[in-house]
Structures are given as C-alpha cells and as structure tokens.
Symmetry: D2
Subunit: 333 residues, 4 copies
C-alpha cells in the first residue's frame, strides 16, 4: 500500500494521479463487504457483541452521564440552502391555553376544565446537527456498503442500509482523543489533518489502547472555536481525520468514529476526491460515522479526572430508510 | 386523602363531584413544586444522581441492549389530523447518483468523480411515536411544572421546562411491570386501568422493589394488540395507569414512567377531567412521562430470563423549547 | 386509428393487447413534441396568444368572478400516505399577542407598543387539492413533454418543464361542460367515462364551439357527491374523461383541461395502462391538466344564466421546478 | 388632523410624542370598522363590485398578461430565521423512474408499464415572497380588522379574517405608480418614503386618477436593486409608502395596495411605532396589502406603451385561516 502520509499531515499531497491509486489501495485494504454476510446492513457495529457491552457498562464509575449533542434549534450550524437548521413549529401553545383558546380542547377531547397542553412539529434535516450517517448515506460508483446498489435509495428512502439498522446497536466503550489538548492549542485550524501517528501518541500518553468494537471520538476543537459564529462550519474548510486513518480504523476494528466537525474528515480533502475517508471507511468499511458531536464538556471532564474511556450510548432514532439521524449521544463515566 | 380506588379499577367511579375533590387532594399530596428550587426545570429526574447511574450500569449483565422505540415512518399509529405520522423527504437519492444527476455534486462540492450521497428532511410531530413529554407539555389552570406560567410557552417554543432539560438525564434503573403476563391475558382491554395493588403484586411476585429515581415501565399489551391496525390507538379508548397510581409514584419517588399506550393513563379517564394523572404526576409531580414505548421485545426477554430490571437509557433529543421528543430508548441487560 | 370508443364508454374495453396499439396510435396522432420548437416548455399553452386573451376578457359581462378552488386545509380530500392534506403551522399568533408574548416583537423588530401579528408556514403537497400538473409531472418510457429525459427531474426539482413555465400563461376563454346536468343526474358514478360524443352533444345543446387555446372544464359531479366524506376520492375509482378524448382535445387544440375529479381521466382506466390520457395528452400533447377544480358554484351560475363560457384566469404559483402547483382559479363572467 | 408630512418625506419626523397623536388621528380618520357590517371579513375589497370587474376587463386591450410574482425557491429574499425561503421536497422523481424504482408505481397504482411521475411537497412561509397579507395578519392593541379579538388567531389558524376571505375577490383595475421612473433614478434608497404629493404628481403626469375599488401598485425599484443579492431586503431598511398615504388611500377608497418591497411601508418607520401604515390602513382600513410584488416587467411594459392601468387579477390561495398567501398576480393589458 502506498504510504504518502506525513507524521502530521496538514497539506494536500502531491501525487501525479490525484490520489487515485491510494484511494483504490485503501478501498481494497479496508473493505468489509461480505465480512458479516451478504444480508448485513450494520457493518462494523457487528463488532459490538455482549462482551463489548458489558465491558462498556463496567466503565461507569462515577455515575456521570455527559451529553454530546448540540441543541437542535435555529442557533445551529446550518446556514440554510443545502441543509437548514431545524424549525420547531408549535401546534398548540400555553398562550392559547391562557387565552382560553383551548376550550374545548383541540383534538376533540372535550371541555378543558382547567387542562391545557402544548404540541409541536419539527422540520429537520436529519443531518442538521449532531448525527450518525447511515450506511445508505454515501455511494461510491453506484454502490453503497456491502455492495448494494445505490439505486435502492429512492425518494421513498433507503430500502436497505437505512439508519434504523443502527438503532439499539450503538452501545459500547468510547475513547476520546483530544487533539488540541495534546498539541497544546485551543483548536486545530481548518485544513489540519489528524493522522494515525498523532492518535497513537495520544493513546500512548494516556495509557490507552483501542479494541475491536470501540467507538473513537476525536476532538479537534473546531466546534468550540466556531460556536455561535458558525460561518462555513457546515461544509467549508475544517480540521478532521486524515484519509490515512482508514487503515488504522480497519486494523483496530473500530466500530464507530465521531468528531466535533461537520464531516469527520479534514477539508479540503487530501486527495482529488470528495470525502475519501467516507468512501473507504464508511462505504467499504461499514464504520458508523458520527458528525458534529459536541465533545467539549466531555473533554473538560476527561482532563479533570484523567479518564478518557467511558460507556458510550448513542443509539439513533429508527427513522426508516433515512440517510442519518439526530441522536442524543451520551458518554457515561 | 379520599380513596375511591377499587383493587382493579376498570370503570369510571361514580362520585357526585365528578372527581374534583379527589383531583385536588392528589395534587396537594403529590406536588413537587419548589422541592428542587424555584429554578428547577427537571422535576423528578433530580432523583437520579450518580449513585443511581452507577447502580443502573451494574444491571448490565448479559450485554444485551433492547430497543424500546417504534419505527418512525408512515406505518406509525397517527392517523393524521391531530398529529401525523412522520414524513421522510429525500433531498438527494441514490437514483439521482446512478442517473448521473449528482455530477457536479449538490451543495457546491465539485465534480463527483464516483462519489454520491443521499440526504433527507423529516417532518415530524414530536409526539408522533415513542416519545417523552416535556414538563412544558401539560398545563393546569394556567400553570406548568414548578408553578411557571403556561404563557411562557408561545409559538417560539417553551421558554422554560422544554424537553432539552431532560437531555442527558434519563439514565437510570428501569423496572418492567408486564401486566398482561401477570393477568395471563394477551392484552388489557381499552378502559382497563392498572392500579397500585396490581403493580405491587407484580413486583412482589418478581421479588422486586422500586427505588427513588427508578423508571417504571408498564406494559399493557395494547401496542401488541393494535400493531399495524392502529385504529384509534392514538387518542381513543385504551388501557393504562389508573389515576390512583399518582400517590404510589410519589411515595416511591419514581423519576419516569412509560407505557406502551398513547397516553400513559387509562382512557376514558376515570374522573370527569382529561388526563388527570398528567395533571397530578406530570404538572405537579414533575415525573417524566414516556408514551408509545414498545415494550414487547423487552417483555419477551424478561420472561425468558426472569429479570425485570435493567439499565434504562432514553435521553431525548435537545429540541430546544419542544413539548416532547422522539427518543431511541434502550433497556440494557 | 383504431376506434374502440362506444358512444358513452362506461366499461373497460376488451382488446387482446390491453390497449397497447390504441395507446401508441393515439400518441402518434396527438403528439405536439417539437411543434413549438425544441426549447419549448409550455406546450399547448402556446395556443393562447394576445387574440385569445382579448377574446377571453370580452366574456366578462356581468362582472362576477367565481372561485374554482377548494379550501386548502385539513378538511381536504387527501387521506394521507401518498399525499397529505396541507398543514398550516402558525409561527406567531394572536393569543401570543394578547398574552403579552410579542413584546419585544419576534424578528428583532423592537418593542411592540400595541402592535402584534400572526405568521405561518404551510407544509403542502403541491397536488393536494385544486392544482395544475406541470409538464414535468408525468413520464412515459423515460421521457417527458417535448422529448426531454425524465432524468432531468431530480430531488432538486425539474430542470425543465416545471410548473413555473405555466405562470402567467393561463388566461384564456373557458368553457364548462356540465355532464351530470346534461344527463339529468346528480353525479356520474365512479368508472363512468365522458367521451367526445357527449362533449359534442353538450356543446351543441348550448350552441357553443371550442376554439384553439380554450380551456375545457368538465364537471362530473364527483366532487359534489363526495365533499366532506372523501373516502377514496383521491386515487380510487372515479368518473372522468375517456381516453378517447385525446384525439378530440388535439383536433380542437385545447390548451388546458380541468375536471372536478382527482385525476382528470376515468378510473379504473379503460386500457391496461395507468392514466393513459395523461400519457397521450399531457406527456405528448403538452396539454395543461387541472385537477380537483371545484366547478359546482360555476355550474350553478351557468345554469342560471345559460352562459357556459367565461374568462378563465388560473395562473399557478411559480414554484420553481415543481411537478404542480395549487392555484386560485377563477371563472369571470 | 395633524399634518407632519413633508413633500417628499425621507426622514423620521421629530414630534415630541413619537407620533402617538398622529397615529391615533389617522386611525380615527381612516377606520372602516363596521362600514360593511359587523360580520364583514373582506374589508376594502367590498369596494370591488361587478361594475369594477367589468371596467377592469375592459382594460385588456393588447392581450398581454404580465406576471408580478417572484419565483418561489431557494434564491428568494428570505435569509432564514424569521421566515425561510420555500423548500421544495420531491417525493417522486424522474431519476427514480429512469432507475426503475417506480415499478410497481408508488401509491399502490400497480405495474408502471412505461408510466412514471414526479411529485413534491413544499414547506413555505406563507409570506416568504410575493404575497397578500390577510386581515388576520396584523393586530393593534388586541384587535384585528372590524374589531375582532386577536385571540381568535390561535395555533389552529384564524377563526376569522383569514386569507381565504380574499380568494376570488382580487379582480379589479390596477394602476402602477413607478416612482423611480418619475424621479429619474434607478431605485429609491432605503428610508425614502413615497407620500401623497408624489403619487398625485405621477398620476397627473400620466393623466390618471384612482377610483374606488382600484388596486394601487407602487414601484420603488428596491427589488430591482437587490435582486439576487438580497441582504436585509426582508425586514431591513427599505423605501416604501409614507404613513401619510393612509388618509390618501382612505379618501380614494383604494381596495388594495402593493409594492416591490418587503413590507409596503418605508423602513425605518416614520414614527416611533412599528409598521404604522399597517396599523392604520390594514387593521383599521381593511385594505389588502400586497408585498414583494415584482413590478419590474410591468414597469418596462408601461414605459413602452405609456399605459399605466390594467386588469389586475391576483386572487390568493384559500389557505384556511392563514395570515397571508403566496399569489400568482397578473397585470393583463
């Protein structure tokens, strides 16, 4: 396998073919198509079995759940157009109740006799904030994970590989890699990549190793640096994982990877292909990709107690056939 | 406190005042307003502290997460009108990718070079399926939990008591009470109430007790009996908790209660007030109410291993100011 | 051209090939592909020029506009699933204003000082009620009107033939054919077709002829018979135009045709193809198809004054790239 | 009545009371509450009767309909937050058809046999682009037009004064006042107001008078100057009608007024009240307010033929209970 990865990759490599050979090598090396049978729709989450779940629960020592999810509201990072921030639309309000406009009760429930309620509808891009990509989210040359045709994903949703397959499956040990803390900076800059050497150095420094079925959470500090002034956070240049993490993820049999950035991997991309780590590790490796996870409170907690491993519970909603799902993700220590 | 509860309440009581005195007695007896300070927006979830979380994790013995969430799709239980089933709307598809309609990539991401993706938006009543009520969902005589004015819930959402306050807080021990299994029937009938005596009998029979901060999950079998032929499942007559569970919930300091029915409590209601258990235990008690939880797989598992307690992780999405939230709820055994 | 049309077609014909030859003959005979140039996206509306518009305005004699549009609300004919009734979601209410929840004004507009407002969002299938089909709505063997590839209609909308092309173009003479009045019945039954002979008889009886560029409005009484108890009005069996109207529409160069039914043409369809009149007259003829037009008030007015022609103004919203559009359609007499 | 209006008002007046007395004087002078009965929900559109409709049709001389409606799409003027641009969401596409993903046909319509279709849903703020305000849109001190309580506008929509009352009623003579053409500038600047003297001068110069029941269309050039680079077009500083147009509108019994700006009246407002012309002429006068009308093509046409009057047909959708409606507005000359 060609290795063009510098120790700390920060710039796009100069290869004459724009990375074509590298991409194909990585695909060949990292593919899990067929590994769990041709009917499999879960991918690397197969690596999480009862033993891994029990081990994860054993990491709950202090009894502290920490939320890793951003608020879903109009203050979110989506400027509109490609994806919008979620819009909450009230269908019943307290002002209606107070203004005597809920008597009789809406819904045909009779006289109010003091009772009132609020209700609402949310219009939400499934990938507007903290979220998991499904294995139907990304295609490569007409195929999605496990070799299924992209044509199975129509306007009626994904016939296979939809996010509902992940529901109930994302309960495992999580490990946080806090890159800016390790580097001694507030945040990585857009375009800065995090590669295997740096991840290994962090793990060594904290006497940790990553085991099959683990979730790897990588903090870049990018969310902290942009919070409330998002600019092009959603889709522009960003720090993130190097493409060269693909063989590392495969070698360690990581089940899920999540970052505090829009798209897990560094932007601009390191080779002349869009989101190549998605192509290698999600489409072919079947790894669950988590995006826009808010890792700041967790990082502070880990810095305090020195413990960078925890029970990770982040089961997505079973939105049948969806490309992704918002999630209430928790690190429980 | 007036006690009009029969051992197994199945019919609406005949009291001359239509239940007015009873309702006010229960409110007085069960209120937690001010118990955790005037700024509190979490209610009975305050009863879950580190000790309770550690205890919950200790219940993970076999390493088996069981999902308690119904699919969110057009097959759901909402016939439309008051609330609709969620609608998934694709903004990018595999057929677009295969049909060469993603080159250049949507979103301004340049030439596809083999890459493609799906994306989607969901239009979703926050209470369309498995969900938590927030403490801003129900009002009583102009007030919501902790004495706040219902007028704080406007078309812009709830200024206080919104569902985002529950995010990260619903991690505790869960106990399943499988009523139809105990009765030896497939499902309770609409209108059949589950009262304290029956819950106690079930717990005794399984050598269980409920502790402060626990989540009580009560299965009626109603979802199993209506699945796929929902009829008026959402809003019509249903089995459920008796109003007389209110003092029991308060006495045991239950933090959260959930059922496999549309609205936790029995319908038609036992007194001449709409959803009186919500009024007592949610508005005044601050208990988290979970509705349309799918408890069937869990019940089967519990019947198999005889263990009716588990780690319960069911953190709602932080939908700022919302009246409720869909949730990927898990029992982990 | 094969002629299998009975005088009053009410049953599906028995032809050995299921209507294949007939369909292809009609397509060949009625196609307007290329007739107005290869760049044309308007189809038969090209037949409406200044002369036709002036003539239409000349039909305004009494000064009476009559609305032909159903209310867009939850009482509409869409039971949900395939298409839903429109949902109006308030983002600001009078109860908020009265409850002092609009001070300061939402939107950052400062102190209210007595001012208040309501605002709303509608979630609406473009074809949920009274509406025009665009020329991008229907495909035949991979093509839409004027030979364009159906692949031009992606999740981002129609690159060509979208409904915005009709905006500003639907102003012409309209002629009402009131079939049940002619037959002396309240309404046609589901499955009853309206063919050329009956249309001609009606026109003769009222001393009318149809000219190029006219809009033909055909009332079946089906909406009147189902109003408020829609059942399967939207998509089930229905009266409507016979496939044999296709050559008639072409011969008379009708620009637009609309009915009081869900889908213009009779259902079940007369041959073994779905909506064959759409295939012939919309996909190939480029005729504007209007559906669920409420023709009842107009029919009453015409019966009163005996005048079945009028100025017809029914310009759709320019919803860029949409398959159709709701419309406030008017007959002005 | 206090008259503080300069000949060409361009700055906020300095009155010690911030305009309070002026506002109340104008309300008293311009109110139409009760004028057409206490049940009236149409306001100044009552001024359009058969005679006015016939007169309008008589203005169709060349047979040229001109659309006054902006495209409803993501290129629109709403940056998001308060209101968003409309989002078209496809529920069936040509790429699905071409990719063989519509066989069998969605909706249960059986085998495709060559047939295919597109379909879509729009999520749309009713006031996102070219639109009419309803008489339920604006409140003043707890009241809306005709003295009705603002409390009648709840999350379920307006019980009275909703936009559906305007459907079928907006067919009348329209008159265009092209202010920048008259001034010899490309566009008025934000903050520049158009007052009665300037409107009268324009009408005199073109030998026109405004009659009861007419629609007055006032072009400021603001849309032309911002098209495609909207900035704060929707809600920021803008040219527009002076508050002093209120008595003029009332004296001429104008039925409807529309501009090419976001909110009809000049912004910042001339007195210390938000949108005071709305308060006087819409809430009290019952005049139909049209906003974001695209008057550029019409202005060019009028400059060419020197005719600034036309048949105006701009009937809104009957969105039951809505605060406004998108509209396909036409000037027909």
């Amino acid at each position: 396998m060609t290795d063009i990865a510098p120790a700390r990759p920060t710039a796009r490599p100069v290869t004459e073919d724009g990375g074509t050979q590298l991409l194909h090598d990585y695909i060949a090396a990292c593919s899990n198509w067929g590994r769990w049978g041709e009917d499999d729709q879960v991918g690397a989450l197969n690596l999480v079995g009862p033993e891994q779940v029990v081990r994860a629960a054993g990491l709950v020592r202090r009894g502290t759940p920490i939320s890793l999810t951003m608020p879903y509201d109009q203050t979110g990072p989506q400027p509109g157009g490609f994806r919008n921030n979620p819009q909450l639309l009230l269908t019943a309000t307290g002002t209606d109740h107070v203004g005597n406009a809920q008597d009789p009760l809406p819904g045909g429930f009779g006289p109010s006799r003091g009772f009132g309620f609020s209700d609402d509808v949310v219009v939400m891009a499934t990938q507007c904030g903290t979220q998991w990509d499904s294995l139907s989210h990304i295609f490569w040359e007409g195929r999605m994970f496990n070799g299924r045709s992209a044509g199975q994903v129509t306007t009626r949703g994904a016939e296979a590989n939809g996010i509902e397959n992940f529901t109930g499956r994302i309960v495992m040990r999580g490990v946080l890699v806090d890159v800016p803390a390790h580097r001694g900076v507030a945040a990585l800059d857009p375009g800065e990549a995090v590669g295997p050497a740096e991840v290994d150095a962090f793990l060594d420094a904290h006497d940790l190793s990553v085991a099959p079925g683990d979730a790897l959470l990588v903090r870049t500090g990018f969310m902290a640096s942009r919070r409330g002034a998002w600019g092009d956070y959603a889709g522009g240049a960003a720090p993130g994982l190097s493409l060269h993490m693909a063989p590392w993820l495969r070698a360690h049999d990581v089940a899920a990877v999540a970052t505090d950035t829009w798209g897990v991997e560094v932007r601009p991309n390191e080779i002349d292909y869009f989101q190549p780590l998605h192509v290698v590790s999600l489409v072919h490796g079947g790894v669950a990709f988590g995006e826009m996870f808010d890792l700041d409170a967790l990082a502070q907690d880990c810095a305090r107690d020195g413990v960078y491993e925890f029970m990770f519970v982040a089961s997505p909603l079973p939105l049948t056939g969806a490309s992704g799902s918002p999630v209430s993700a928790l690190a429980i220590k």
